[in-house]
Symmetry: none
DNA sequence: CATGAATGAGGCTTCATTCAT
DNA sequence: AATGAATGAAGCCTCATTCAT
């Protein structure tokens, strides 16, 4: 029987991860020192190293958390049968997050992307995130094509990639400039999605 | 080595910048040491510091080069009057780049985005890149709306943002996974753009 | 190593300062590397940088210590009412220091003077040292003049400057050549001071 | 027959030495880079290295120049037979130098002293300077003692040391603060010298 | 379990010096 | 003889990590 409950351990982990996220969003992975993270978490280095064996591991754990969170968003939205509604839902989920938190999330995502370029573990996480999103989107597209909602000439995977771009581009642009007009962005996004829908005319496509 | 031509100096600068780009794309800004860059450029530290007064400055110069290059792409494409053709052109320009170089460019872009989050100078460059792209796109959209090509209910700026996402998303996805099927991606992109064109039906916009 | 007493921290500081002094006296500020100081203090660079944030700061702290020490000497001597006795006292204080330590002190002083020429902070310290000595001497002279001991035609400040020269010159000469005959030097110094005393003849002052 | 006259070579040497002196007085030996010196001398590094094989050598040459100049001062003054007049002469010589040049000279002296502590060659120069001054002063004192001007109980060498302090202290104090009142300083100095003169009373001395 | 002082490898940068032109 | 671009050793400092208390 450990002296501390499992829950307490997990709470400490979270505490560190949150401190790290805050630092990372503010200063980036490489400008955030372990000292910064310790200070933010109000913990000593020794304590932090009880929960994570390296800074790398903290980054990875943080990226993993992001992945799970993002997965949650899309899973929640996927419940909606209607294709267009999915975008609404995703947008709503995004809107549900407090502004500051969202901004931080965007920055962390960008940071994680860059980190993925040289840390294979992080890359793995990013790819898994991308792949699961891709798969979700592709499935939706395929269903819509079967229903005749979407032009069957379009490659479902490719549509999924573009849909991902909608969100990744928004994350990037909001990360760089929080002032972007999101509702209008979503409106355009939906108009474009709607435009890919079957309209009786053949979309020559390319 | 006595006084040397201006061209030689500029060539050296390029040599260093290319070496740096190569390192940065391979290992990221923060894992590339000056030593790495020097080795890649086949130059001594002292020589490199004749041309750039800090690693930071190399990063910034590199980001600036990226900005100018990106600007060139879109300017070249903007010559085309037809709205849809713009996408073709941009895609062609992208395709015109050798595969490896493109891949490297994508990685550098991602790297630069992340760097922008904490280096105000780099952020400035990124913002300027984004802004000039945005403006180009918005102008195209406005012209298309005047011609009746695009639904006038859509905010031109917002459309521009989404168009930027098309490309940024592609850059990100290709950066993370070079295997992405670009032609199909472009096809979908064009289909979606075409879908925003005026079709006689009102796009309610949300 | 957990939290440690305030005294221990101060002891470490002293340990570093002493190591630095030793290096500085032996090799000068600019030929003493941080590595030298660390080795002398038997501490790692990281440890030293916990206590001083730069080599510069070590130099300044050392100069400040010298200042305080010098202040102590003169303050101790000032207790003596009799004018001539002051010189005796100062000389005694000097003699009270172990030979090696004195030699080191002289070298450090010379080093600090030179450093003062380009480090404004050090210059500030040197000036303050000089000023407080000057003031002490001038006060003594004024009192001696009131008692009729010293020719009232002489500017007390100027006398103080010359008195300072007695000591600074000795420091310099001993720093350059430890073999100087100090007792004889002091004897002459006192004879000269005595000579400025009122003797019934008017000293025309030039 | 060299392409350049001996005189031209010497002129270049002087040009470099003057540039170096200027830099050294302004920034000290160790903060003056060869680049600084080259810039000040309007010469390229290669050119400078034709005349001096190292920075060290420039420092030493400069110190040697200072030594010779100082020697000239005292030699000039020594012509005067009268003891007190020597001080007048030395003071006059000092006064004869333009203010700025003097200030620079003081700083260089201080710099040279410090450098002497760790460069045996420079130390040799300083010692030689000191020794020749000492000898000159001692000789004067001995002569004065023979004439009965100065208390014969005083060690001529010791008096010489103190006389040197008069000047070294002034150099130091003026180096640190150009505002010092030199005429008054000299007046006191002379009063003190006069006080060591034989007055009929025995100066108990020590 | 926690603390935080200490470690030390390694990064960025400077600058005295060289040498091809 | 002069030039100035290039060299590369070495210095200062940071920071992820450890471990005695």
């Amino acid at each position: 029987m450990p002296k501390v409950t499992e829950a307490h351990l997990e709470a400490r982990r979270q505490q560190i991860l949150e401190a790290a996220s805050s630092c990372f969003a503010r200063k980036g992975f490489h400008h955030s020192t372990m000292h910064d993270i310790c200070a933010e978490a109000q913990l000593s280095p020794g304590a932090v190293y009880r929960y994570f064996s390296s800074k790398e591991e903290i980054i990875e754990a943080m990226a993993e958390e992001e992945r799970v969170r993002a997965l949650g968003y899309i899973e929640a939205a996927k419940q909606r049968g209607d294709t267009l509604e999915l975008l609404n839902e995703l947008a709503n989920v995004f809107f549900g997050v407090v502004e500051d938190e969202w901004q931080q999330m965007c920055k962390l995502d960008i940071e994680v992307w860059a980190e993925g370029l040289r840390n294979p573990r992080v890359m793995g996480l990013v790819r898994r995130t991308f792949d699961s999103h891709l798969e979700s989107f592709a499935e939706i597209v395929r269903m819509a094509q079967e229903r005749g909602d979407i032009n069957p000439a379009l490659d479902p995977e490719a549509v999924a990639h573009v849909m991902m771009s909608f969100f990744e581009g928004l994350v990037l642009q909001k990360g760089m400039d929080p002032g972007i007009d999101v509702p209008n962005y979503v409106a355009v996004m939906k108009a474009m999605m709607k435009g890919t829908f079957w309209t009786g005319r053949t979309l020559e496509g390319s």
